[in-house]
């Protein structure tokens, strides 16, 4: 397994594409390792976000998973980060499905679905690194341009003073 600590989002996407294209037998043969790798990929994706924002990624766990602790860390003060809350939880769920029963007939499919969930996390974080407001309106109920509105009270917020 490649060292996820040195990976960027593109490397992660390439690895996930490999997982999605791999034959069933390849996935099944390494199922528990690949299930854990999916979780590590998810952690690496959130670490990239946190590091880009000058935060030190936590080593703590929430509900037994570091991925969920990293998500909680990212969401602190940035409610739009909750747009990937369930994506992280689904990643944990798919990892558990495979890890707890690696010989299940659906193992290859479960790994691929886990890889698709991880890909969504990659796309979301990649998008947020480009446009920080991604997920802002939808999930946080916080205005995108609140700062501008505060900075220009005469023009934008004037209605309340005139009345």
């Amino acid at each position: 397994m490649p060292d996820v600590r040195t990976m960027n989002l593109n490397d992660i996407a390439v690895r996930l594409d490999w997982m999605l294209a791999a034959p069933d037998a390849t996935l099944v043969a390494a199922a528990p390792d690949l299930a854990d790798e999916l979780l590590s990929r998810g952690e690496a994706i959130l670490e990239i976000w946190l590091t880009a924002h000058d935060a030190t990624p936590t080593i703590n766990k929430v509900e037994g998973f570091r991925l969920l602790a990293l998500h909680r860390q990212g969401a602190r003060g940035d409610a739009s980060f909750n747009a990937c809350r369930e994506t992280c939880r689904e990643l944990v769920y798919h990892r558990n499905l495979v890890f707890l029963d690696p010989t299940h007939p659906d193992t290859a499919r479960r790994l691929r679905l886990g890889a698709m969930v991880a890909r969504h996390l990659t796309l979301f974080i990649g998008g947020k690194l480009e446009v920080a407001g991604l997920g802002e309106f939808c999930c946080s109920s916080r205005p995108l341009r609140q700062r501008e509105a505060i900075a220009q009270p005469a023009e934008i917020a004037g209605y309340s003073r005139r009345m």
Partner: protein
């Protein structure tokens, strides 16, 4: 059938008069077929959507509260909203008016200036179209009325992000058995299963579609939607059911854009849950506005004995 929500005020919102017209048509047709009465708010206004909220959230709270005030004046204690964005904004206004004195002050000032009674939190309950059918008819009631079973349809239910987030504005959710879940919503799954459909396990049912950035950063939105579509197909779905006009048009538009820009074709169809339930009750595809969708579903519907 509890009888609750048998007659409710109806707030369609702006999108349902534009790109979401088929959602408006199918919601009304479904209500009529089920014997439920919906009365459209008189002289309703925009909920504040993202445009107003981005500039001034308290003005958005006022705009949403005016719709709640209209519902109260019309004698209703419940307003039903099919659009996730409107639903979210009305619920947020309710929360802000109950918990934020500054929001109450601005709303009161603007209401007096506009010449109508200030809406007070707690007078009108905002429900989603899913709550409406689930509570007023329920799965058993729906099952008993099905004329054209959705048997054979494999459906991925996509709820989008605004139906469940942020959690604090939806105090009625996550209350155990019978209530909706914010982490794994299931009301749409329940209703479509009652109509005979097979719901596939879809891990991205509340994942971000990049909807708010669909114009400013189209490539990000297209990639997110493409992943939603390919994952639905990988889950075995032939249809994605939606319950929000923004999600719906985003999925349809970016499905086409993904093919045009990235050369990635997906074949999964996109239909509103109200269209699927309407057809299950015997309404024609035209009656529920399938011809107004961008996603061409008619071949699939005809092959399954609908349409």
């Amino acid at each position: 059938m509890s009888g609750k929500y048998k007659q409710v005020a109806y707030y369609p919102g702006c999108a349902l008069e534009g790109t979401g017209h088929s959602y408006n048509r199918s919601t009304k047709a479904l209500g009529k077929a089920l014997g439920l009465d919906i009365v459209e708010l008189k002289n309703w206004n925009c909920c504040g959507a993202m445009e107003v909220k981005n500039v001034d959230p308290k003005l958005q709270t006022y705009l949403s509260s005016r719709n709640l005030s209209i519902a109260e004046n019309m004698g209703f204690d419940t307003v039903m909203v099919p659009c996730n964005g409107c639903y979210h904004n009305l619920k947020k206004a309710e929360y802000d008016l109950a918990n934020d004195s500054a929001s109450r002050e601005v709303t009161d000032r603007l209401s007096r200036k506009a010449g109508h009674k200030t809406y007070e939190a707690g007078k009108v309950e905002t429900i989603h179209a899913l709550d409406w059918i689930k509570e007023a008819i329920g799965e058993d009631g729906l099952r008993a009325r099905v004329k054209n079973s959705l048997k054979g349809f494999k459906i991925a239910n996509y709820y989008g992000c605004m139906y469940t987030r942020p959690r604090h504005i939806f105090p009625e959710k996550d209350k155990g058995a019978g209530s909706e879940s914010t982490s794994k919503p299931h009301f749409m799954d329940d209703l479509l299963a009652a109509a005979g459909a097979e719901n596939v396990e879809y891990p991205l049912k509340t994942a971000c579609c990049g909807g708010a950035h669909t114009l400013s950063d189209s490539d990000t939105s297209t990639k997110l939607v493409l992943n939603l579509l390919t994952t639905a197909e990988a889950c075995g779905a032939d249809v994605i059911a939606t319950e929000c006009p923004t999600c719906h048009s985003g999925l349809e538009m970016h499905q086409m854009r993904a093919e045009k820009v990235f050369g990635r074709k997906t074949t999964v169809k996109i239909l509103y849950f109200t269209q699927l339930l309407g057809m299950a009750l015997g309404l024609s595809a035209r009656k529920v506005g399938v011809h107004e969708n961008f996603s061409d579903c008619l071949d699939l519907l005809r092959a399954r004995g609908l349409g």
